[in-house]
Amino acid sequence: MNEEISFWILSAIAVLGALVAVRKRNLIHGVFALLVFFAGLSGLFLLLLAEFIAAVQVLVYIGAVGVLLLFAIMLTERVAGDDDRRMISRGWSWGLLAAAAVFVVLLLRPIQQLPSQDAAQPIKPSVEALGHKLINPYVVTLEVLALLLTAALIGAVTAAQGLRMPKEEDSPE
């Protein structure tokens, strides 16, 4: 019962956040609405007893991606869009159709195949188990990802280096 109430509340938050994020023309508002969506999602993960995923959701999506988005937006013109002018695309019905199609084709079957609530085994959440999983079967994936991120980091540093000010010809001693 508790879980159910929590689920509906969190889902409502997530859906509302997502809707606002899509419809707001003010980019900053949009980003924050998106972050609300992430927060709702993180709550849902928590409800599934996937603590680590929930924490990572907050850490990565809200903490890192959100800030990244904000930084990116600060570089654009006209941050504060006109909220009064609603975004109404002419082809919105096609979008709806596409969404429905995605739902039916991709998601409907997995949802139907989910085990019923009674049959589901209560899982004991453990970070340790996750760690073992990461290190044992998925170690190559992890390493590749780490390498990729390192490459991105180095690339970012190099890109930043290129913008450095030219040294003065006669720097005073």
């Binding site: 680590f52 907050v58 850490l59």
Partner: protein
Amino acid sequence: MSFELLIDILIATVPLMLIFATVFAFTTWLERKALARIQNRIGPNKVGIPCTRIGLFGLGQPTADGIKMIFKENIVPTGADRLFHLLAPILALIPSMLVLCFLPLDFPWLNENSVKAFLLDGAVIFFFAITGLNTLAVFMAGWASRNKYSLLGGMRAVAQMISYEIPLVLSAVIVVMMVGSLDAAEIAGEQKGGNWFVFYPWGFAAFVIFFIAALAETNRSPFDLPEAESEIIAGYFTEYSGFKFALFFLAEYIAMFAISGLAVTLFLGGGDGPGLAVLPWLSVIWFLAKIFALIAVMIWLRGTLPRLRVDQLMGFAWKFMLPLSILNIFVAGFAWHAKQLDSQFIMVITWVISLAVLYGAASGLNQLNRGKVRPREYKYAE
């Protein structure tokens, strides 16, 4: 929702809220008083019991400040984003309050259930995840104020908090590595009986890095650039007044408690201290006392140091703290493996090597970063 669970949650949270709000008020008084004494002033000494001349060392000052703050006019600049201007202080307060739950405080009135409500398996990672939200609040405040100084302060805050989060987490990782758990209670339990991690070379280095990064995370001097008064007026809360300002203030102090509490948990043995065998509830007192010790050091630093420049701040994080904390992880791993060998001689060697490596690296990085900065000699003309 079962009624007992609700009661348990309330029992676990309400005292936390009350204790830390009271402690916050006391800390503002302490800070003002200590800073005043450092600066050879007396500090607040008039506000005591109302309608009398009894000063009580100015202990009524926080209350008076609070009342003043609540009744001050709430000013929102023209053209500001009113919604975000309102939300920012609330968003700043919530994460700071929330993470207090993850501190392994053994209140005597807590039963097994209510403890379980918060002692998550991954408390440490949750801690970092949630404190990271502060950044957003600060940015929100800076952006919503429609003030150039606020925006500058907000951008500074975001850059600073993200940069210092990395050494913060990396130094915490060492403890997690040693204990093999992200559970705060387990980490504190591992250090029972004076086996505090700060007494190890790698632990000490990690503690120092953690503390410096914590100063930056909570915008304390010498890293108080987002609210640098002499440069950008008050940074992101230039345009805040009244109760909203008070909320920011509260959030900042609660964040200080939270991060000090984490430092105590990770490095200073949690609630460990003498006398626990006789009176188990002393652990709460010890815990709070350690938090206050850290906060006293923060106040002391604030009374002494000027602040860094923004590029030096970032340079310090990336060129000094980050390499050192990564090196520290290696040193800790090395020490951990040496410990498994269980030999006194190797232990001593490990100690010496860790100390030498850490100190050498620190001073080397220091030299590298400081360049030609030295005290100078001057000439005299007769």
